[in-house]
Amino acid sequence: MPLDANLDPRTHVFKVVGTRPLRPDGVDKVTGRAKFGADANAPGMLVGKILRSPHPHARIRAIHTAKAAKLPGVKAIVTREDFPNSVDASLRDVHYNVMAREKALYDGHAVAAVAATSAAIARKALKLIEVDYEILPHVTDVDEAMKPGAPILHSDMITEGVEPAPTKPSNIAGRHEFGHGDPEEGFKQADHVIERVFKTEATHQGYIEPHACLASVGSDGTGELWVCTQGHFMVRDTCAALLGMDVSRLRVTASEIGGGFGGKTTVFIEPVALALSRKAGRPVKLVMSREEVFRASGPTSSTSMTVKIGVTKGGRITGAFAELRFQGGAFTGSPVVLGAMSAFACYDLEHVKVVGYDVVTNRPKQAAYRAPGAPMVAFAVESVLDELANKIRMDPIELRLKNAAKEGTRSSYGPKYNRIGLIDCLEAARKHPHYKAPLGPNQGRGVSAGFWFNFGGQTCVSLNVNIDGTVALVVGTPDIGGSRASMCLMAAEELGIPYDKVRAIVADTGSLGYNDISEGSRVTFSTGLATISAARDAVAKLCARAAKIWGIPADAVTWENGHAKPSGPNAGNFEPLSLEDLAKKAAKTGGPIAGHYEVNADGAGVSFAVHLADAELDRETGRVQIKRYTVVQDAGKAIHPSYVEGQFQGGAAQGIGWAINEEYIYGKDGRLQNPGFLDYRVPVASDLPMIDTVIVEVPNPGHPYGVRGVGETSIVPPLAAIANAVSAAAGVRMTQLPMSAPRVLKTMDEAKRGSRRR
């Protein structure tokens, strides 16, 4: 639904959109009444627990559950036998990941599950289940997994995207290539060419709420599921398929969700809870421990990347090449394709090529983590650009401005851009006081640009007018960042009524049409435009109803600040009817009034950002501290500025953690060594400065108000911005994340021995 012709968001004066009201669901959250995944209980409820493989790679010859079944209080045990032998190809990997089939493929892979009358009995029962494992050699490093002779995870995995197709199985699921022109040709025209290898460790989304659900399946096969998820319609359809249920038989209710960031866009424990409940004939509550979340949910890829860029003395990029090696855990689908597509997306390049390898290893199946694939590649690309800027003595923002993508630029992933805001962000960053502020001793400043695609997707909204003229807005996209407030703002704007006359709720799968997951920064864009359309649908019906009351043709009635009015003098001079007037008369003039809109929304606009980071280095211990941080990002149109700022700050904070301290550490035994918040170190309040934000608004032509998704871009630039800042402070280029103190010290020592340049 494109931008309204008569509405230029830059000049149009919005009544409520752009203000900062209190969110409609806030009071419950500050009083402890809000119900999250683990906060629901049911009469006769059992407690579910999952037995997980301690081995990174092992054939499961047999699972003996007889002893466990005899333990008093145990009501059901499920294993691979309780799931269909084969499922639709698109669900094959999820099916295998939810409950191990022929092999356990990573430390933590679910092998069996128990439902019992108490947690203590369930834990004891797990210890009584005997699994006959045949331990196999394992591999967890991406480069090792690609080598011939590495232990093979899937004997049927033949690399896709390679012509002629290989004959032997390997751990390389696919080769993907993007770009245009010929980089080798471009490098010939360059004055300076820099090639470097970068590595990043796997990181986790780090949501504070572990996965949790309450499943209840009756003997008639009808099921209810209460779950914290980013997409309860996806959960319904996936669980129904994995359990051989009709979709209509399963109703899924999305609880409040305690953070997701992409990690709750798939299923892990939900099919298991449903299977246990069906077998026991009683409700089953299944909640992951924090250790299980780290070992067996969906961290993002660890990566090994080679980037080569050539520039002229004048700062023109003549050639750009990247080879990306991503491991995405035990199954195909690492975000290397999206990483490859976003690698050089910020730049207008004549010669660019990106090759991406999707590799499997004995690690948990990756799930999306906020702009999946993009942060790691931006770390590599924006680091080499920073080094080139130093080499030709050019201001880093100047170098990016000289090559910045703009309207009409052919993007490195194929299509030409329509209206975009990268140049606006670069110029806003250069003018920002932070960029000119003096630096203290042992401090460095880093710049980085970043991008994300943003998506539309299937969306349904219903808008019901209540008798008192207030509105019940029904959406189907779980609210992970305050979107209910934005929806109320857009509905109130269209209907011309105060914001607090609208209440938005997230409906269960039985009450609304199919909605795609809340992901891809899509909610404010897609659910927003669907809300606007539903409101306009309601307005049309309200005008028709007023016309009927006045006995004049419907097209002779217009809607202005919350009232139906005759469109002109010749239409009759009737007193305007407010929303409340029409609502009171609704029953007697034809029945309830509601607006609906169902769509597969397209036209999502990309969102660019530029980040500035100041880092201080303790040269004696290698410790890095962030002293100042600024986010400049294009939101198209900020509906609720506080929550747009919140996305900017949250993404930056996750990026800071990723850059400095967060990593999955696997031992030689292939087991995860730090499955907990003590040694998987997310930033705490005292680690961070205030995070300043600048909202740039270059309207997206694909949305009535110009909205662009903002949720994901904010995590793309920080890794590079901080690496550039630390490299400046340390006087040596940092090419591996996280930049832990031991690694910084070691890199500085190597530089002293002359083996590294800044």
Binding site: F36, D39, L678, P683, S686
Partner: protein, 158 residues
């Protein structure tokens, strides 16, 4: 396994319950007393989402045994508002959008209240170190610190 009989005070109300010896206070609050405001984010004292006060001291209720609460005075997030009047901290958290998903908010409110009772006029650094035991993954802490500063100012005005 013999259970322990405990009589205690929660948010000013006399409460008694039976619990297992190794059952944590957090599990008692959530599974026996229906007070689900305190959340389990880690179960090992590293995230602060289960923060309550025990005899006025800020603690992780996942690292306290239910059996230890005998004769003690416990306050949870459910006891911060008085009737339908929100505490200044609750009000400022809403005004400053100091929460997005809200799973960490109960822990932050209990911790911030305990901090302000000890230090009515804390510096930004004192707030950040005072709340370092509470993890938040959505906000980046900026708006939480500003909300606590605003609430502190209002509370000082009395």
């Amino acid at each position: 396994m013999p259970q322990v009989r405990v009589s205690t005070t929660i948010n000013g109300d006399a409460v008694s319950y039976l619990c297992e010896v190794d059952e944590t206070l957090l599990d008692v609050l959530r599974d026996r007393l229906g007070l689900t405001g305190s959340k389990e984010g880690c179960g090992t004292g590293d995230c602060g989402a289960c923060s309550v006060t025990l005899d006025g001291r800020l603690v992780c209720s996942c690292l306290v045994l239910g059996a230890e609460a005998e004769g003690r005075e416990i306050r949870t997030v459910e006891g911060i508002a008085t009737g339908d009047t929100l505490h200044p901290l609750q009000q400022k958290f809403l005004e400053f959008a100091a929460l997005q998903c809200g799973i960490c908010t109960p822990g932050f409110l209990v911790a911030a209240k305990a901090l302000l009772e000890k230090k009515p006029d804390p510096t930004e650094s004192e707030i950040r170190f005072g709340l370092a035991g509470n993890l938040c993954r959505c906000t980046g802490y900026d708006k939480i610190v500003r909300a606590v500063q605003a609430a502190a100012a209002e509370m000082r005005k009395g």
